[in-house]
């Protein structure tokens, strides 16, 4: 089976969105492109984007945005790494008189990361409301506001970027996992650094009256992911008991002093807890967010304006009906200088009926009260020889009836020219007639058509009668 899905990155998504605002191709081009490729779906869309991206002549939005995002990520990532490191150093600062409280460390190294992961999950399952509450909990929300004052942020119109609130949430959550990871890494490095460079006495102390056995159960539960691999990093009940510290008294308990060598053993547990909950679990979350972000991005790609149409064009056959041959445009004259008269002459030497039959000719003659010495049917099914014989016998004034609704064909024009060329013919009157139902009256548009055609003959012998 062909791979129909492509991993759209933020860059390719932005590039596609920008390209679609500039160029979408025609159905013909897009279909031809789809037929030339083996890929389908989003992968095909991605290939189309790669092929046409050169059409975007402006600076790519993705370049500016990703530059901003990278800068923002690097800046805050580095800041948070340092913050984590110095937080760790501060938390682990040991003057020699008072031990470092393990509970406090656990809250920062395990409790805080687990809480933020919980909030991340909450924002995933409660839609935007969760994300909004969550964002206000995070210092990043405020940091992001601060970054808007940096000059580079002003170069981007964020409202013009094609990010839905859901996609923005995924971008934010993914980056938050990274920042939290770096913060935890700072803590972890501080722990390693302090443990190596100093001799720290760890102890645990709480206002709550916590029983060492219960505390040991909690710690064993926390250590369950690694207790089979690193049993030495699970605090024993003995260690818990000897490192129980009370805030009263200006110096260390004698029991603690006696077991001073054991108090340092807490570091292994703390290191494994940070490694497991703040770093490894965070990586799992980061991976989850990455998957979620990719899924959302795919949905957003399909929602981009123009994408649905583009995909439809890829899969719908292109149908064309246009002619390849350009049209020879006929210049149509609207007015004719040739004018028609409305009165028949008193008498005609010959009456010709073009494309009529004998019966109709007699009827027409009677209806219009035309006096003609001779009358003939011409055109129609007559042979040329028959018509020629009629023309040869013409003289004097000739009236020709024609069907007004039938356009003057070249066959008629040839015939008319022959009649006009005849020396014995004094004048020729052409009378376009309407149908019997119209009482043989021609309509204006038909008459115009005849006048325009007949004026091309330029003969003084020729007249047109409009009844």
């Amino acid at each position: 089976m062909k791979n129909n899905t492509a991993n759209f990155s933020l860059k390719s998504y932005l590039d596609l969105a920008q390209l679609l605002t500039k160029y979408r191709g025609t159905h013909e081009e897009n279909r031809a492109f789809a037929l030339s490729q083996k890929e389908q779906g989003l992968k095909l869309l991605s290939l189309w984007k790669d092929k046409n991206l050169h059409r975007v002549l402006d600076e790519l939005d993705s370049f500016k945005y990703l530059h901003y995002l990278t800068l923002f990520t690097s800046l805050f990532g580095f800041t948070l790494l340092l913050l984590g490191f110095f937080t760790g150093v501060a938390l682990l600062s040991y003057s020699g008189s008072q031990p470092v409280n393990v509970i406090y460390l656990l809250l920062v190294m395990v409790g805080f990361p687990l809480f933020s992961m919980f909030l991340s999950l909450l924002s995933l399952f409660t839609g935007n409301i969760g994300a909004k509450i969550f964002s206000h909990f995070s210092p990043l929300y405020y940091l992001e506001k601060v970054i808007n004052f940096f000059p580079f942020a002003k170069q981007i119109d964020f409202s013009a970027l094609p990010f839905s609130s859901t996609l923005s949430k995924w971008i934010f959550l993914k980056r938050l996992q990274l920042f939290s990871f770096l913060f935890a890494l700072g803590l972890f490095l501080a722990l390693v650094f302090t443990v190596v460079s100093k001799d720290i006495a760890f102890a645990w102390s709480s206002t709550l009256a916590i029983d060492p056995v219960a505390f040991q159960h909690v710690l064993s539960f926390l250590a369950s992911p690694w207790q089979n691999f690193f049993p030495s990093s699970v605090p024993s009940l003995e260690l818990i008991e000897v490192s129980h510290y009370f805030r009263l008294g200006d110096k260390l308990d004698a029991n603690m002093v006696q077991n001073a060598d054991k108090l340092g053993a807490w570091w292994k547990f703390l290191a494994m807890a940070t490694l497991t909950y703040a770093l490894l679990l965070r990586l799992v979350f980061w991976f989850m967010m990455k998957l979620g972000f990719n899924q959302q991005l795919k949905k957003e790609v399909l929602r981009l304006e123009g994408v649905k149409k583009l995909l439809k064009e890829f899969y719908t056959p292109f149908v064309s009906t246009a002619s390849l041959k350009p049209e020879q445009h006929l210049e149509v004259k609207n007015e004719s200088t040739f004018l028609a008269t409305e009165i028949f002459s008193d008498k005609y030497a010959s009456l010709l009926a073009w494309n009529y039959d004998e019966k109709t000719l007699l009827l027409l003659q009677d209806t219009n009260k035309i006096t003609a010495t001779k009358s003939y049917v011409v055109g129609g099914k007559n042979s040329f020889a028959q018509d020629k014989a009629i023309v040869d016998g013409l003289q004097g004034k000739v009236l020709i009836y024609v069907k007004a609704w039938e356009p003057p064909t070249m066959d008629f024009m040839d015939f008319l020219e022959e009649v006009l060329a005849k020396g014995s013919v004094n004048s020729v009157e052409v009378c376009p007639l309407g149908t019997a139902n119209e009482n043989y009256s021609s309509n204006a548009s038909d008459m115009k058509m005849w006048l325009q055609k007949l004026e091309t003959i330029h003969s003084e012998k020729l007249e047109v009668i409009d009844v």
Partner: protein
Amino acid sequence: MSNYPKFAVVGHPNKGKSSIVASLSLDSSIQIGNTPGTTQVKRGFPLKVDGEIIYELFDTPGFQRARRVFACLQEHDDVPADKRADVVSEFVFKHKENEQFRDEVELLEPILNGAGIIYVVDASKPYGAEYEIEMEILRWCGQPSMAILNLIGEEDYREDWTRALGQYFRMVRTYNPMTARHNEHIELLESMAQLKEEWTKPIKKAIIVLDELYDKKVDESIDTLVNYMVEVLSLVHKQKIKKEEASPEEKEEAKLDYRKKILQLEKKERKSIEKIWNHSEIEKNEATLALERVGLFSKESASIFGLTQKELIVSSVATGATAGATIDLLAVGHTMLLGALVGGVVGGVGAMFGFDNLYEVKVLGKSLGRRELTIGPMQNLNFPYVLLGRSLYHACMVAKRSHAVRGNLDLEDSTFTQELMEGENRKGLEKLHLKLRKADELEEEVLEAYKKLIKKIFLKLL
């Protein structure tokens, strides 16, 4: 030689050959006129699917010297029927460069190259024996043929014509390119498919393709129309202001810009619809489409394409009551149908006030001390109906318009809204219009429901 079916549309000048080709090839760019000789050379209009030609139609000039051509053909004594096509070919070859027979050569060439004959006559005018010579020439060509009765005028001489044409052509069909719709187009193609056995398969394929193309155009029109509705209904115009409060001039300027944007969107939508239906050269009745005169923002327009205030109140009462009744239903009747009553009153009162309430002008504070004026989204409850009525009517008229028609598109019909506002449609539209104003939160399901409803109305209007 290509094997796809070809059809030459031939006949006397001015009998609507180009109109028929324009209608069948869905091409409104073909020059059509009542001046004889408008078509000067033959032009092929192939129906291509992904570059593959399924069939080709030829528009040809009309017969000009049919008698003379036939006289030339008859110069050959006692030509047996199987050799007559050769005689016509010989004539075409001999007179290819002869200006006297230019039109006849142009029209006979595709037939001699294997095209079927579609002979067009104007059946609104009386039959004349002079046509028999043209028909005889075509019979000599020996190709499958059919005749089309085109009713250009108001009279009807189809009976006479059918009797005469039946002696020369295998089939006689009536087809009016000016009024023909998609189904008539398909029926004509089905007739053409019967002309020759080998042509049946490709023409059937063409029918499937054209049916799909038609459905695609309908879907694209609905998408365009719905996107336009969402865009306009949710339109918010923002404008920076100098002081704490917007001055009357600033408000007026913002209102003008807002209107301008809506008009631009309407213009864009109209163009897109016309492009979908391949009517890019269409000329509209300016008086109807000139929004400045009709006035999208005036109460008068409501009576043209929107609802009257009374209709709007009835519709809103119905929607409000439905929502209230749902509450009653959930409370299993404990509310004593109060929900429906209250819902109805709320809806009705809202409509009464919403009729004149066009849009809200707000001044919003912005960060860094900047202030801006925002207009929209349009609050007028009647506005979506005005918008939808105008657009549906335009889309419907464009979709129905034959490609043979060259006149202006008339967009005036005051009865149009009745179709749009039938009971169930009205209720559905009222609910969805309220949701469309919030484009940011618009769910895919709402959009789909709206498209479905609009498509239902559109198909009914078609």
